[in-house]
Amino acid sequence: MSENLSAIFYLVSGVLFILALRGLSSPGTSRRGNLFGILGMIIAITVTFLSIGNFSVGFIYVFIFLLAGGSIGALIAYKIPMTAMPELVAGFHSLVGLAAVFVAISAFLNPQSFNLGSPGDIKLASLIEMSIGAAIGAITFSGSIIAFLKLRGIMSGSPITFKGQHFINLLLGLSIIVLIFYLCKNQSDSFFWSMIAISFLVGLLLIIPIGGADMPVVISMLNSYSGWAAAGIGFTLENTALIITGALVGSSGAILSYIMCKGMNRSFISVILGGFGVTDQNSKKDKNIKPVKSGNAEDAAFLMKNASSVIIVPGYGMAVAQAQHAVREMADGLKKNGVKVSYAVHPVAGRMPGHMNVLLAEANVPYDEVFEQENINNDFASTDVAFVIGANDVTNPVAKTDPQSPIYGMPILDVEKSKSVLFVKRSLSPGYAGVDNELFYRDNTLMLFADAKKMTEEIVKNLN
């Protein structure tokens, strides 16, 4: 296959990838979009095989590795529970990062097969491009591994900080640039390897100070990095499909990070600097003094049955308790009693963008009952009961009233405006931001202390 023809096919697959993302603008077109993406990938891979035209022994090995990886991927895709999506995505990011590093290494060791010159005499531009690809890829890899471990709960979600952390990161970052500079000057292996090693270290150090509550930002940011790494490699390989994809993924991740930061009213820089989620000492002190009203499933069922409208506010706690199916059953029970039920999803509810929506969809909640914050916030005032399950910080009115609070300025769901509030929670402990929620102590709040799933199931029983 001629190079021009294959370049055109790569362009086609790039366009198909754009259509894949475009399809996600509504659930109705999204499945077709995904098929476009698959088609684009098939075209890209087939064209690569045809343009190399080498169907020798190597081809068999390529195929074996392709199938081995593919079957593992397929198995994971079918087995993974929806609650584990954040970990899965973090894990997948790490693979993209590592693959980018490996491709860069092969290109560095064997530049002839990529038309980049000969070892020790690689074209300057290619050398810069592959170094950037490798460095970002390595940062993505080790950063995603840390994110994976934190999300999986293998590593504590609390931020790990030490003195001079940011200074060390800055120093390491600069040393990567210096190493790339010297690598370009004399093309020595040792500069290349140490540049990659330091990049791995940077990824590690970059993510460990970031706390659990900031994970949605981290995961989006790593998504973005994996795109830039792919684009860097795309420039090295002079491959349009890869350049287009890299740019798409890079900007997609960047936009998601922005949306997540805005959802928490935090600047991107402060997320990166980390250390968020340290318990607020002041609020801890007076916690025991204030009285709370607590109730049981019977009270909750009675309250909601007699309401005319209920808004359900799900949070990460619902995901942890796997309570989404029980919540759907409860909503069904309420609807039978003529209650209007809707769901309010905060942008940063859960551990990744859109996490709650997927869980509700899994439990067969129709997507037209699920509303984003800006579309439902005004409805709380005319709602009888707000049922908050596993969410906390995103409902905390202190974000509006107390400029001293770490979550001050964060857009919240106006749960407080509804006539009564039900909180399903295991204890009075503050949320990830470490801030006490004054809503717990209000007169119109009823606390339901229990596991989210058990409590919801109890309520369902009492409804019938």
Partner: protein, 102 residues
């Protein structure tokens, strides 16, 4: 003077960033999780580079270091491609509206 092909690639890159910017803003927030998993899958088109690396050289040198890194990259990218697209499809199957549900 002829324009360096790099400039063309850079143009594609810059324009794609803009395309990405507008396309991603039009993605509905409720599909942000599938967006992440599908971007994950498509960024694994890096497998193209891995295949070139894996197939380079003749039969004798099929297990050169650079080939082996190519094979490993194929393996990793393949996990991502299959895993990413399939898990996205699985998620998207769950999104139903009221009418279809009843």
């Amino acid at each position: 003077m002829e324009i360096d092909p790099f400039i063309f690639r850079l143009s594609i890159f810059v324009l794609s960033i803009f395309v990405g910017y507008y396309v991603v803003w039009s993605v509905t927030p409720s599909l942000h999780t599938p967006l992440m998993s599908v971007t994950n899958a498509i960024s694994s088109v890096i497998i193209v580079g891995a295949i070139i690396a894996g197939l380079s050289g003749d039969i004798k040198s099929i297990f050169d270091t650079s080939n082996i890194f190519g094979f490993l990259a194929i393996f990793l990218a393949a996990i991502n491609i299959f895993g990413g697209f399939l898990v996205t499809q699985r998620m998207l199957q769950m999104y139903k509206n009221k009418k279809k549900n009843k």
